[in-house]
């Protein structure tokens, strides 16, 4: 197994409440697998990703990569965030080179690799631009190139297309499928969009809310490349949506009661 989570618990404490974000999460992911995690907002799916990344520590349980315990963040598990996490003080090219620079890869070599990945995301002509000169979709493409250039064992994606418009998102979903089949990376992809999850994942893990648990583990056997509009995809999405609906209602009820 590439990635294993064993009995992971995580709670947050506010002034008055103890919020159980994750309760007894156990997951096993194979090398090269594309796993989507889906759930209502506040179910702790981003927390789960941060724990895998080593950015947060679980209260109990452990995360293993190739059998080794994860203790801190590292370039074998790069996170791609929803928000614009590109460094505004660096050009596109230097952003993509950043992780390789941290690994002390020679300048010539990292430049060549960075250019290759910029080509892969179709942004070669923007290599000297700065982040603020790019559109939202372009920024996320750069972020993807930046993550891939480090050659991580696992790519962690935290709603990377969540802030994009529908058309751009669809284009990037297609590109991501293509890049995934080329690079054969293990990907953990967090989203709240059911069809996106079904379109991209080999498996879709459905999270329940408060406490966050893995409610269902669905294998998606549809042929690739998948299109968002295909009938099979919509059917599968609807089945998962039904699972999710009761969870979303639970959250809504709880929030309304609190309000």
């Amino acid at each position: 197994m590439k990635l294993q989570l064993k009995g992971v618990f995580k709670s947050f404490y506010t002034k008055r409440h103890r919020l159980t974000a994750l309760e007894d999460i156990s997951i096993a992911v194979k090398q090269g697998e594309f796993v989507c995690i889906i759930g209502p907002s506040g179910c702790g799916k981003s927390t789960l990703l941060n724990i895998i990344a080593g950015l947060e520590k679980p209260d109990r349980g452990e995360v293993l990569i190739d059998g080794h315990l994860v203790e801190r963040p590292g370039p074998d598990r790069v996170v791609m965030f929803q928000d614009d996490a590109l460094f505004p003080w660096l050009s596109v090219l230097s952003n993509v080179e950043f992780g390789m620079k941290m690994k002390n890869i020679t300048k010539r070599k990292r430049r060549a690799i960075a250019l290759e990945f910029l080509r892969m995301v179709h942004l070669s002509t923007f290599k000297l631009s700065y982040a603020h000169e790019l559109s939202g979709g372009m920024k996320q493409r750069v972020a993807l190139a930046r993550a891939l250039a480090i050659n991580p064992a696992i790519l962690l994606m935290d709603e990377p297309f969540g802030a994009l418009d529908a058309q751009t998102r669809e284009i990037l979903q297609a590109e991501l499928q293509e890049i995934w089949s080329l690079t054969e990376k293990t990907i953990i992809f967090v989203t709240h969009n059911v069809r996106e999850a079904v379109c991209l994942g080999d498996r879709v893990l459905v999270c329940s809310a408060r406490p966050g648990k893995i409610k269902k583990d669905v294998s998606i056997d549809l042929p690739r490349p998948r299109k968002l509009g295909s009938l099979e995809l919509i059917k599968t999405s609807n089945l998962i949506m039904q699972e999710l609906r009761s969870e979303i209602e639970t959250v809504l009820k709880e929030e309304l009661r609190d309000g």
């Binding site: 996170v79 996490a85 460094f87 003080w89």
Partner: protein, 252 residues
């Protein structure tokens, strides 16, 4: 109408008013000189190099003093910004020290170092360091968490993290602090230079008083203000603008 023309017109107008007031002879000539007299003093000062030497000496001092402030300020700002306990303890103290007018360090400097170069540098450094420290501290604390998280997942640890992430991310704030620190340093230097035969611009100003030469006082004041404006606008202003444009904080 071009920007340059507007500026030239404004200053010509200002000089005309000055000349007008002079011609009213409200005050005797030895208390209020005409702009032309001041210009003559300026040109003879440049001609016999006394002003040039004064400028050179003051610039040397400010570069040395401000350079020390910059190094100490940025380093201490980094420490205070990243270590919580330092922030809680030293932070308020620094805030207090920054409000202390830098000239108040002079008696201390004179007792510690004597009436010499070191005392002047001491005052300049004390005047500039705290604003650079506090601005750096502020810049470090306000770095968006997402940059730090992205950096650590990409393997930036320890020294690299400071050099390649925290320093550039805090740079806009540091430049602002430098600009503020520079103006404090310049003021402190002038105050310090008035104390003894220091040969800098402050000393030339004081010499004007001792010789009852109002034209020299005006001339040196013009130079001090001009240097202040040029460095503020041309050096820090340009740096600040460049960074803001690169970061996309202002339309380029």
């Amino acid at each position: 109408m071009g920007r340059t023309i507007r500026i030239v017109l404004f200053y010509s107008f200002l000089l005309a008013i000055w000349e007008g007031i002079f011609r009213l002879h409200l005050w005797p000539e030895f208390l209020f000189p005409s702009p032309l007299d001041v210009l003559k003093t300026l040109s003879s000062g440049f001609y016999d190099k006394s002003l040039l030497i004064g400028i050179g000496i003051s610039m040397k001092r400010i570069i040395l003093g401000f350079g020390c402030s910059l190094v100490v300020g940025v380093l201490s700002g980094f420490f205070i910004g990243s270590v919580k306990i330092l922030d809680e303890t030293i932070g308020p103290l620094l805030l207090g020290l920054r409000t202390l007018p830098s000239i108040c360090w002079l008696p201390l400097g004179l007792l510690w170092f004597g009436l010499n170069e070191k005392a002047i540098l001491f005052v300049v450094i004390m005047g500039a360091t705290f604003s650079i420290t506090l601005a750096t501290d502020d810049g470090v604390k306000n770095i968006p968490v997402i940059y730090l998280r992205a950096a650590s997942t990409m393997g930036a640890h320890g020294f690299s993290r400071y050099l390649f992430v925290i320093l550039p991310a805090a740079l806009p704030s540091i430049i602002t602090g430098m600009k503020l620190g520079w103006s404090f340093a310049w003021r402190s230097l002038m105050a310090g230079e008035m104390l003894f035969v220091s040969l800098g611009l402050g000393h030339l100003l004081m010499m004007g008083r001792e010789l009852n030469d109002i034209r020299q006082i005006f001339a040196v004041m013009v130079i001090i203000v001009a240097i202040g404006v040029v460095i503020d606008k041309q050096l820090f202003g340009v740096l600040e603008k460049e960074i803001r444009v690169r970061w996309g904080l202002v339309p380029s």
